[in-house]
Amino acid sequence: MYSLHAITHSIQDWLSARLSPVWVLMIESIIVIVLAIGLFAVLGLILVWLERKVAAHMQIRLGPNRVGPAGIFQTSADTLKLILKEGLTPDGADKFLFNFAPFVVMIVAMLALAPIAFANGFQIWDINIGVLYVSAISSLSVIGILIAGWASNNKYSLLGAMRSGAQIVSYELSAGLSILTIVVLTGSLQISDIVHAQQNGWWLFKGHIPVVIAFIIFIIAATAETNRAPFDLAEAESELTAGFHTEYSGMKFALFFLAEYINIFIVCAIGATLFLGGWMPFHIGDWAQFNHVMDYIPSSIWFFGKTFFLIFLIMWFRWTFPRLRVDQLLTLEWKYLLPISLFNLLLVTVIAIMNWHF
């Protein structure tokens, strides 16, 4: 049976038999770059289409249904339109930073892709502090947003950027603490170790109620960190026109739009890896036969299935909850989520030390 692991190994062997190590590294990094950009393009197209379909379903509409079967080429047509549109730069804007900001947001989204394990043995960089790396990188996206809001020289953009900054900096705390609960249980920050620790069941089921609480807090914080409704104060269209990307048009706007969806994918991939076992199939303890049947489903399908389930959850939130006010947003984080997650971390530490988890 073909697996992605075998394919990467055969490419590695084929290249290293013919070329010097430096060239092998170069060619492999080019392959990785092409794959990452390809993944970005495909994900952008699929997720935007999915969002519109989910939204339509929630509101008992049909959604896009003209271009292609079930409107699946609608996003491609929209992208073509955005490419052909003129990218305006306002007169009063800081020209360099205005044009630079979309790339910062995009590059940050790309960097966070590195330690994610897409399938068994299919990972760009298995760094020994993978989880910490992702949370560090995802905290940087706010810099791009702040640059965009400030360089536009528009009061709505600046207000949106400031709101987004306050929001991301504060929700990072509870996201980090809920990630730490899994790190405490596993005893490692490496993504591959975390996935392998879930061989006899996912942490969501093994870790009792504290892990469930951590999972809920993580999902809330992830929604807030990606500036999604009900936390979309940064681009609240009824108050701030479009928030930090008010002045952007054409492909520059499209980059912000794409980065938002890539960030959703990445936080959901991290959530799936930490709490739902990543590429690990659904295993129950040591029921060897049941586990064996589950292993027949390829690991990449497990990973993408879990990730898209979480993405669906976040899209569902958007059409379920009304938008929070700024004071409610900060109260929720600092007065409720942060104390709960601090106490929860303590509980999980006790569980991990006493070996009470399954």
Partner: protein, 168 residues
């Protein structure tokens, strides 16, 4: 020239150029952005020394949190080159002398440091003292007291911030 040497060169040039940019650029927002680039270059150096944990913590604390707050404040104040207060000549001269003194001390300190031979340098690069497990062991075995005292210091700083913020 192997890859790590090339990377070291690129990162060093980047760090020096962006550090100069912090001082030279007229617009304070550009200064802060240059400082962020400097922190990134220094994190790259940590990774070359196989100290990934330090590198990531450097990014989280400085580039991710402190510099974001800096950006926040500077963008909200909307400082321009025109409104920048002009300092007196004497202050500029005093700053110049103080900077020179610091530079002299740093050069003197570096001159007395052990010269790392090529083998020592490679040992440093291949060593795993910067990995999170060894770092945690060192912090909680050899340096428990200073570590805990510094955390108390942070706590008192937090309490101080809350007290100042509460003051009407």
């Amino acid at each position: 020239m192997n890859i790590s040497q090339i990377l070291f060169g690129i990162l060093t040039v980047l760090a020096l150029v962006s550090a100069l940019g912090v001082v030279v650029s007229k617009n304070p927002v550009y200064s802060v952005l240059c400082l962020i680039v400097t922190f990134f270059a220094i994190s790259g150096h940590y990774i070359l020394l196989n100290a990934q944990f330090l590198a990531i913590v450097n990014i989280i604390v400085y580039a991710g949190a402190i510099m974001v707050l800096f950006l926040f404040v500077i963008m909200l104040m909307n400082l321009n080159a025109e409104v920048e207060p002009q300092k007196s000549k004497i202050l500029k001269f005093a700053g110049f002398i103080a900077g020179l003194c610091l530079f002299l001390v740093i050069v003197a300190a570096l001159k007395n440091a052990d010269e790392k031979t090529q083998t020592q340098a490679t040992q440093l690069a291949g060593g795993d003292i910067g990995l999170i497990k060894n770092l945690g062991r060192a912090l909680f075995n050899d340096y428990v007291l200073p570590f805990e005292i510094s955390s108390v210091l942070f706590l008192s700083a937090m309490v101080g911030a809350v007290v100042i913020g509460k003051k009407e």
